[in-house]
Symmetry: C2
Subunit: 187 residues, 2 copies
DNA sequence: GTCTATAGATCGATAGAC
DNA sequence: GTCTATCGATCTATAGAC
């Protein structure tokens, strides 16, 4: 039983990996306890409302990471093309070149849907809108900007599904490369 | 407690809807019993190996439907363009214009991943290869055919994720229209 | 903060009547 | 084929010692 976790932030990261592997309903407290090395006492100390609160914290944590490392760069009024490049770099790194799934996407398709629909909806809306704004500022028409933003976010999520399904992470890197080609302003 | 189900085929369809709504681990036998109107006795009569067998039957059933209604048309050597059009029609109808998710995609991201990876892998491989073959026969180069086939399947899966996440089925219909435009031979 | 022990509900699965 | 009753395991959550 390792004890490398002493702060709530570390607990969130550890619990996130369990949810990523087994889904929400598939992650029992026993599984979480084993894989994180945190006892139930610790878990209920960090998350008094139990499993539901663990999932909320995990999803908020992912959203927060994207807000700081992806959406903020996209909104940078001065350098929209640079922001879009930064998004692709961050996404490639975050999803470990296709070996890691998107928890928000998995929860959207799976069990926790209605319980967490607020965070999920906000995450994808914010992403699409921030990217659309950046594309607009690189010279896209409003229609083309919205359409391309949706195409990129759709492509990233779909590539994560296919990479996992076919156990071939390269589907993800190929898709990212193809999506970049759809945005000539960042070539 | 309605009793409209007397055959295994009907039971599979009813159980599929439960898995679609709650995922694999999220669907308890109590939930399945309530939502299908089938008692445990009936369920274990149709599926002696229990929940695992229910999920296998459901996934096989979906795969079989796609084999007959989508992949077969794509493989029709005589009319590849017509087969691709047929695929888009069948996909739009099957996913209820974006209101229904793909069980194979949801299981790939969620809990049942390792338990059902065989069926999941086969489904997506077969789909991509059949579409690639059809594109080849409409005049695409081998490279372009493979790339576009992957783009289409990725786009469909991603659109289902986003449509569910944003609770906006039109993401799906918009994406299908956009993907069709990527294949000039069927315009 | 973290542990063990345990409550009380629910889990998947089975048995046997009809 | 479908029902009810029920088993033992596992579930989430809590209590209380340290």
């Amino acid at each position: 039983m390792p004890r490398e976790v002493a702060e709530r932030g570390d607990a969130i990261a550890a619990v996130a990996e369990v949810f990523r592997e087994h889904g929400y309903a598939g992650s029992s407290l026993a599984t979480i306890t084993q894989q994180t090395g945190l006892g139930k006492g610790s878990l209920y100390h960090f998350f008094p409302n139990g499993k539901q609160e663990m999932a909320e914290a995990v999803l908020e944590d992912v959203s927060h990471w994207f807000e700081e490392n992806v959406f903020a760069a996209l909104r940078d009024a001065g350098a929209p093309a640079r922001g879009i490049e930064r998004m692709f770099e961050a996404v490639e790194a975050y999803f470990h070149s296709g070996e890691r799934i998107c928890l928000l996407g998995a929860f959207a398709l799976g069990d926790g849907q209605e319980a967490f629909e607020g965070v999920i909806h906000r995450y994808f809306s914010t992403w699409t809108e921030a990217l659309s704004g950046a594309l607009l500022r690189t010279g896209f028409t409003p229609t083309k900007a919205e359409e391309t933003a949706e195409e990129v976010v759709v492509g990233i999520q779909g590539a994560l599904v296919l990479a996992r399904s076919r156990q071939d992470p390269q589907v993800f890197t190929r898709t990212l490369a193809r999506l970049k080609r759809r945005i000539p302003t960042i070539q």
